[in-house]
């Protein structure tokens, strides 16, 4: 029972972590809460679904395509809605992000309709594996595997490549990075592309996990993923991973011990409690305020 719930929780949590990474990277670089991120996740799920059900593609190819499309979407959103607002107050950018989010979700409502759609039968070869007294599906294992693979890939890009170094420099000090000859606009676009691709992968995985894709799936998932990013310490990549998995696991355990009607509150209650005792999140760095 315990193992079963733990695996359920980690599978759910790793999808939260995938979305949270996008939030945390964007925040790390331009200190913007990108509220459209949840909708990118939703668009990713829909594109994956389209590819599988209309074009009859393999689920993994569909996921790769969804990631590519969302990369472009993320870059375009940044270009239209955020770039001009980079110098103005942060609240304006926030409202702009909320505008994008309303736009995308109502677009999805118009195109795909109000009811949730499921992936076609056999889109994913589903098997059950018995370990001890736990029933673990191949889907859950795949989700955990893909999420881990993508996060390792991200860690590689950020730590070992040149553009990753530029990203770290930009998030450390935007102005100094620009003075050192880093093309800051390109770095920001790249960050949006990376984050959006991860969100799209998360969208397809969540769509498979619940077998439901709907126009309003982005809001709650986005809020919880953001909570995960803050829980881990916003701006910190390992923090987002830790926060996502932690929220997923506690949520599943909360439901398992009988608080299913409080499901959506559990994630936020943990968040509020952690922030009260550790105001910068679990792995966040304390920033000394200077006069």
């Amino acid at each position: 029972m315990f193992l079963q719930q733990l695996i359920n929780g980690i599978a759910l949590g790793s999808t939260y972590a995938l979305i949270a990474l996008g939030y945390t990277m964007v925040y790390g670089i331009i200190t913007l809460i990108n509220f459209a991120h949840g909708e990118i996740f939703m668009v990713g799920a829909f594109i994956g679904l389209l590819m599988v059900s209309v074009f009859k593609l393999n689920i993994f190819i569909a996921m790769a395509l969804a990631m590519c499309v969302c990369m472009v979407l993320g870059v375009v959103i940044e270009l239209i809605a955020y770039r001009r607002l980079r110098r103005s107050s942060r609240l304006s950018a926030l409202i702009s992000a909320i505008g994008v989010s309303i736009f995308l979700s109502s677009l999805a409502l118009m195109v795909f309709g109000a009811d949730a759609k499921g992936f076609p039968e056999g889109a994913f070869p589903l098997h059950q594996i018995h370990i001890g007294n736990a029933d673990i599906s191949t889907l859950q294992l795949t989700i955990i595997g893909i999420a881990a693979f993508l996060m390792l890939g991200l860690e590689f890009i950020v730590q070992k490549t040149k553009i990753g170094k530029a990203m770290r420099a930009t998030s450390e000090d935007y102005a100094a990075a620009a003075l050192m000859g880093i093309n800051v606009n390109r770095v920001i676009s790249f960050t949006f592309a990376l984050g959006s691709a991860l969100a799209a992968a998360g969208g397809v995985l969540v769509g498979l996990l619940y077998n439901a894709v709907s126009f309003n799936m982005g809001l709650m998932a986005g809020l919880k993923a953001f909570a995960a990013a803050v829980l881990g310490g916003i701006g910190s990549i390992p923090g987002a991973m830790l926060g996502g998995v932690l929220l997923g696991v506690t949520e599943i355990f909360g439901v398992a011990i009988g608080y299913s009607s409080y499901r959506d509150a559990i994630a936020f209650a943990i968040l509020v409690l952690v922030l009260l005792f550790k105001p910068t999140g679990l792995l966040g760095q304390k920033i000394q305020k200077k006069v």
Binding site: I33, R90, I95, I98, L223, A265, L275, L276
Partner: protein, 309 residues
């Protein structure tokens, strides 16, 4: 008297009247958030939670206790203010985005609690009877809206309001000047919550039906957009923001299913082209004096400069 007012209200067609009343309800809500976010500079993403607390307290007062309408509104405002202060006390230690996400989380928790309480009728929501008052509802709503405008205007130019502005501009400098940060922040939070509670009470009694799901994140965003759209910290801006954003979906109704699509695009465009809000940085007193031909503009300190939020 009451009959006369009733006749005036009856002369306007009911649909227009409904939009007008909705604007009147939005004004205290937006002004409340304007105190917290615009004046004190504390970003709150959970204002709808205070509105829902006010709405449910007032509904329960009317249904269970049979309070008269005025008493109901005062009770809901005071209870909401008390809850706001209670919540504000621990979380206002956080700053910036951490505070924002905490208020958001708190709002979700409130929503889920209301969805599970018996007294709020769980997910079914409450049907609220028409208020017991001799004044017609639209007059009542606008009376309170105007009262709240006057109240906030006085507050803004008082010693208290100046302290809040100092906190917004620079917390460290404000503290060095002897402003007790924690106390003022909690007080501004409580006053903002009070207005939200009153607005929630009006909302509940005008609509006649409330459901916890109506007060989700999107409602908070709605109110925040009003404040930011009009221009942070500006009372006329907030009022116009409330009017524009309440009426906009109605004006866009002819586009039926494209309505929300256009609304979203409109928000983005407005922010991209007027990042400081429609009326951000506009000095109203100066404009007014100019209009009546007196140019004492120089004697009035201009409220310029961008805030860091």
């Amino acid at each position: 008297m009451a009959e006369f007012l009733q006749n005036i209200v009856g002369a306007v067609d009911p649909y227009t009247m409904q939009v007008i009343v909705n604007i009147g309800i939005a004004i205290p809500l937006a002004l409340g958030l304007n105190i917290i976010t615009g004046l004190t500079g504390q970003l709150s993403l959970g204002h709808a939670a205070f509105m829902s607390i006010g709405a449910f307290i007032s509904a329960i007062c009317t249904i269970r206790l049979g309070f008269p309408f005025a008493l109901t509104l005062v009770t809901s405002g005071l209870v909401t203010a008390a809850i706001g202060a209670m919540i504000g006390f621990p979380i206002l230690r956080l700053s910036g985005d951490y505070l924002a996400i905490c208020t958001l989380g708190f709002a979700e928790i409130v929503k889920v609690i209301f969805l599970n309480l018996d007294i709020t009728n769980k997910a079914l929501g409450l049907t609220v009877p028409a208020p017991k008052s001799f004044l017609p509802m639209p007059i009542y709503v606008w009376g309170i809206a105007i009262l709240s405008i006057v109240f906030v205007a006085f507050l803004q130019s008082s010693r208290f309001g100046r302290a809040l502005k100092a906190i917004r501009e620079d917390e460290i400098a404000a503290e060095a000047m002897g402003i007790n940060l924690a106390r003022y922040k909690v007080q501004s939070f409580a006053i903002g919550s009070f207005l939200a509670g009153v607005g929630g009470g009006l909302y509940a009694h005008f609509l006649g039906y409330i459901n916890p799901s109506d007060f989700g994140f999107l409602k908070s965003v709605d109110i925040l957009s009003m404040v930011v759209l009009g221009g942070l910290g500006s009372i006329p801006g907030t009022v116009i923001g409330a009017a524009v954003l309440t009426a906009a979906p109605e004006f866009l109704r002819f586009m039926s299913e494209y309505r929300m699509l256009v609304y979203g695009a409109l928000l983005v465009c407005l922010m991209v082209f007027r990042p400081n809000g429609l009326l951000g940085g506009v000095n109203f007193t100066g404009l007014l004096l100019k209009a009546i031909g007196r140019n004492i503009n120089e004697s009035i300190p201009r409220e310029k400069g961008r805030r860091k939020l």
